[in-house]
Symmetry: C2
Subunit: 413 residues, 2 copies
Amino acid sequence: MSLREGAFGNATNLVCRECGTEVPLGPDYACPECFGPLEVAYAFPAITREEIEAGPANIWRYKALLPVPDDIEQSPNTEPGYTRLLEANNLAKALGLSKVWVKDDSTNPTNSFKDRVVACALSAARELDAKVFACPSTGNLANAVAAAGARAGIRTVVFIPSNLEQPKQVNSAIFTDSLIAVDGNYDDVNKLAQEIAAEEEGWAFVNVNVRPFYAEGSKTLGYEIAEQLGWRLPDQIVIPVASGSQLTKVDKAFQELIKLGLVEEKPYRIFGAQATGCNPVSTAFKAGVDAIRPVKPDTIAKSLAIGNPADGIYVLDIARRTAGAVEEVTDDEIRDGIVLLARTEGIFTETAGGTTVAVTKKLAEAGVLDPSLETVVINTGHGLKTLDAVSDKVGPRATIKASYAAFEAANIS
Amino acid sequence: MSLREGAFGNATNLVCRECGTEVPLGPDYACPECFGPLEVAYAFPAITREEIEAGPANIWRYKALLPVPDDIEQSPNTEPGYTRLLEANNLAKALGLSKVWVKDDSTNPTNSFKDRVVACALSAARELDAKVFACPSTGNLANAVAAAGARAGIRTVVFIPSNLEQPKQVNSAIFTDSLIAVDGNYDDVNKLAQEIAAEEEGWAFVNVNVRPFYAEGSKTLGYEIAEQLGWRLPDQIVIPVASGSQLTKVDKAFQELIKLGLVEEKPYRIFGAQATGCNPVSTAFKAGVDAIRPVKPDTIAKSLAIGNPADGIYVLDIARRTAGAVEEVTDDEIRDGIVLLARTEGIFTETAGGTTVAVTKKLAEAGVLDPSLETVVINTGHGLKTLDAVSDKVGPRATIKASYAAFEAANIS
């Protein structure tokens, strides 16, 4: 297969994160030498803040730093990103921190950060001339793939566990006529996806065979935070850990911005957030070991329920290198985190965001986060997708008759 | 009560839309002379495209054109707006139109255009020193008020019919400890809100006593569309009609942009979209009469179910003045509209958006919309809020065992 000139922008090749072997750009994700994960390498040109600021209010303002062609805006896509970075003074006060920002990815096109990574995977699928755009997923990723594929006019096939709740099925099936229910759990679905990717020609599974391109999309969270802070890096940042990819890509983004001279170099601390019901990275961090021992997930934070996280070891490296940490919270703490963020800042987050807020609270209370430094908290998705988690926790304060007398008697004013 | 200097920006007074009586800026909504609706009047300074473009990626880039103070960004708010305007070529093809754009307000902070109007009402509540920020609502408005109030640190009280589905209650109760369920239908709740607004000191009901300020927020939809088209007005635009306020404010925005020299004057046609189950404006338009006869709503498009729309007569004026129309569609057509938009453009809209898409289709098929002209369709809210409307329409294509053999046998590739 031949690639068109500039198909992957300033990307030059794939490189193995373990042994450094270089591989040409293509639908590969494992090193042919050592089976380590491949990631995208670049030769960046000089780029200025002004050039970026003149771009669109979505992730393509950073297109020069992504593995996408220079004409990416001309190809139909969901135009995700450039979401709100909210100064969260109420939350800061509640947590006893001097300054907190919330990066709110719940306002992306399909209401999670997955729209960012899927947009990059879609570009790769297009440039690689894929016939089918696919994924295994239990939620956010399924929504993002099905929506992006519909808009791009590429056929989508989305695999889900057949016992997935019906509302979650609807939220993907609305976009695609090929939602496929698979008898089994997520691991079974994922394994099937890998088999299909290996056997079938022209299938781009976003999180399997085009994963190196897909994963680069998470860098835009880091770029946006830095730009929205006025082109500087935050002091402390708390990021949820599922596969661990997002956390490693935010770190990669910060390092790239420093190298490109777009921000000043300064120390920053990266913290990972997990649920106690799926805590392999937190466990390894606390034990001071380098190896991740897989777990069987059992938590309401389904979008974080990856028992054997591919990038877990890199998360450990980064948390240690930056004087950060990886912490975990219980399902009850996650529910409390969702309500806390809603009541203080008017943001309704999913269970993954509740995890991040609750971990931030735990780290603040333990004095691990420095209260005099500013902290950025990433909200990765929308509470409407995990409504059940809090439906027993909140409700009407009173039920009254429809009269002013009843209103007065209820002492609401 | 005294207002601080510049509390309402370049707004000068309220003016009656019927008799032109002028009233000072304050918590008033009905003309003291004729009981006609009051709206905000301004003395705009000269303003350039560049000044607007240098503003933030939210509605405050247009703050000079809104009844808000110049330091509005410093007051905590949800920072809504500047949502995607997507070039919708797949939808255009499906409708037989040459060019269609979708203005997608489902990605606002609480996933509907209501965040725009509530942000303006919040500013008014603040400047008027209100103690309580309140509304009667069955859905989108309740979410927006509860979230904005939480973030602003002002007490919110949100009134809903007590028979509202529990998921919708959760989506507001997550933000406020004062969700009040009222035994009765929406009209009963609304009437109670008017009584409370009249009796209690310091209550700002966004859609009652600060309604003139609130309603101005919808102008930002018009500003954004023009700016995102490259500072020009669209040829044709289709807008859902509930109270009719949004449609009239988009027209007001276009007229202001012309007067300010920010766009060239040109003809544009405005079309209103209603559900057959709540069609008072469509009925009057088709009958060629000026009076709106109230109806008892019965449609799945709950957010459009206003049987006696306050701005209905102005909608008629605008549709006739601009060579537009007001059209209606059945609940089945609305459901089909939701699926059509999702499958063509990857946008999951609520029933109101389904109405707008279905009306666009009907007008295109009837040759009322000129296929050679470009058409903008406004999507006002998110399908996750009205999931039930389509949950019987879409689902998995197949259920298979977790094996490659089962995948092959299912003939999916």
